[in-house]
Symmetry: C2
Subunit: 324 residues, 2 copies
């Protein structure tokens, strides 16, 4: 079996070896740029790891897994235009380095490069694999729409927020896991169990991400503490706080998110104080753990020897355990 | 066999009956809007007409044909952002009616709705059909990039221009025709001949479009005469003029395209005068006819009874014959 870092190497190599249409380098330069910057490669690594649960041969799963990574990066390129974000993973975003039109068009071509990769799935599994991918792709767009809508909305419920992150983040992780299962030879039951594993893992991952923005350690995790708070992002702690706070606290939080405090450090401190009065660290941690436990529950039911699941379990723990 | 208007009806009905994810109407409203505005539906009609060459049953070809139309409209939504175009087909563009971010995201989801439609191809032909579609999709992006690049370039050669319109317009028409052939049961030779028919038809169509902007009749064709000239668009007559003009004429044309004449009517008149000195009406017409004749040459070789080709021939003539 392959371990995590071997799989990441397989993924990085496949991404490097991709060939592109040579007629318009201005179109593909931003694509190569984005894909060279890296990141965890979580989706393709998980996809290959899942394939590897069922089969010692993973090569048929590589290009479809890469396809999902390219799709993911396509959404980042376009989301960064919409969010007007100048930097991602410490590098200038495509629209900042080139311009918005270039980011639209180079993003667009990535969707079809992703298609090309998914089309390399074994022909007898192509329809199944492509349907799983494409369903997730549409759901990710819906998730991004809800994210935009909720940014403008005055009230977002906990349920709405969780559904939004499910669509925007969790379903693609789930699809990556499921396509790996299908290509590896998992049956329908196992593929579905693994989809649910991925979905819950993705939810845990996103809730944990929200948690780390407030209570993470900047030195270790590289994120500025309170960045979401400064940007008035409606994260899980915020949404939950608005749902549970008493009148005065809710008003205070709303005011802080509406610009009542001009100094960002003071704003972050005051919001965190409110969160702590409402016991939100524990509530958020508990939610992340609930999801991860659900994820493990699904993984456990998969009809594969427990020994083969070890790498997957470790990856899941490492994802959620960054804070501990 | 189906006639042109029956096929258009089939296409319009299938587009109307498409179902969408219901969770984010803000995402799909612009999609429905764009697809309801209509247009000739040239690509799906040609696709079904080609299927109908080989088979009396066309229903398996309907959704893939619709997929290509949705892809085409996706490119229009994004191109209109890049061109900052306020109106298309007499209606406000998506980014004008909503905003640029909405046009990016609703455009994006159309790419995956298109995938969903192409995935409905008969399973035994899916891989072939999807590859034809996806190759064209990537080429259209390359064509749009070249179009953007050439707009900024001081000199564009005739060959560069023709390759650009081939990628931006002709290959998708060719792909529409070819997918219809594959699904209808045409063999590889006939499918390739029909691809070439579509490619040459697409080239003829675009060159004719450039011609009509200069010498078309506004009352009949609904386009403002000289719109491309006012917008400094590098059309075939312009590119060819720059390639064939003597020094003084070339300088004059360059100056007119660089803003030396502030009154648009005078500018259009002067550019057309130059074109006529260079015999460009005849040269452009001849080129369009060369392409249409090549197209018919390929169609003729297709191993299908000539009587079955009549509707296709008529459609091709009507496309190119708008001026006569």
């Amino acid at each position: 079996m392959y371990n995590h870092s071997e799989l990441k190497e397989v993924v990085d190599k496949a991404l490097t070896n991709l060939s592109y249409n040579k007629e318009a380098s201005r179109l593909t330069d931003p694509v190569k740029y984005v894909l060279s910057i890296g990141g965890k490669r979580l989706r393709p690594v998980l996809s290959l790891m899942t394939c590897n649960l069922f089969s010692d041969k993973i090569d048929e799963a590589v290009l479809p897994a890469i396809g999902l990574e390219i799709f993911h990066n396509f959404t980042l390129v376009h989301d960064d235009i919409m969010d007007n974000a100048p930097v991602r993973r410490s590098f200038p975003t495509v629209h900042a380095k080139w311009d918005a039109n270039q980011a639209i068009l180079s993003g667009d071509v990535m969707a079809f490069v992703a298609n090309d990769c998914v089309l390399q799935a074994p022909p007898d599994k192509l329809l199944k694999v492509f349907r799983v991918y494409n369903k997730a792709a549409i759901e990710v767009c819906v998730g991004q729409q809800l994210d935009i809508d909720y940014e403008k909305a005055s009230i977002v419920t906990q349920d709405e927020y969780l559904r939004m992150i499910e669509l925007k983040t969790a379903v693609l992780i789930a699809a990556a896991v499921k396509t790996g299962a299908i290509i590896g030879g998992g049956d329908d039951r196992d593929s579905e169990l693994l989809y649910e594993f991925g979905r819950n893992l993705g939810l845990a991952f996103q809730v944990q991400d929200d948690l780390l923005d407030v209570w993470g350690d900047t030195r270790v995790f590289g994120k500025t503490q309170g960045g979401d708070i400064v940007a008035n992002k409606k994260t899980y702690p915020f949404v939950k706080a608005m749902e549970t706070a008493a009148g005065r606290q809710a008003k205070q939080l709303q005011a802080l998110y509406s610009g009542s405090e001009s100094d960002p450090d003071t704003k972050v401190r005051k919001v965190i104080e409110l969160y702590e009065q409402l016991n939100l660290r524990e509530i958020t941690e508990t939610l992340a753990y609930d999801y991860i436990n659900k994820a493990f529950g699904f993984l456990q039911k998969v009809s594969v020897d427990e020994a083969r699941k070890k790498e997957m379990t470790n990856l899941a723990i490492s994802l959620i355990g960054r804070d501990h």
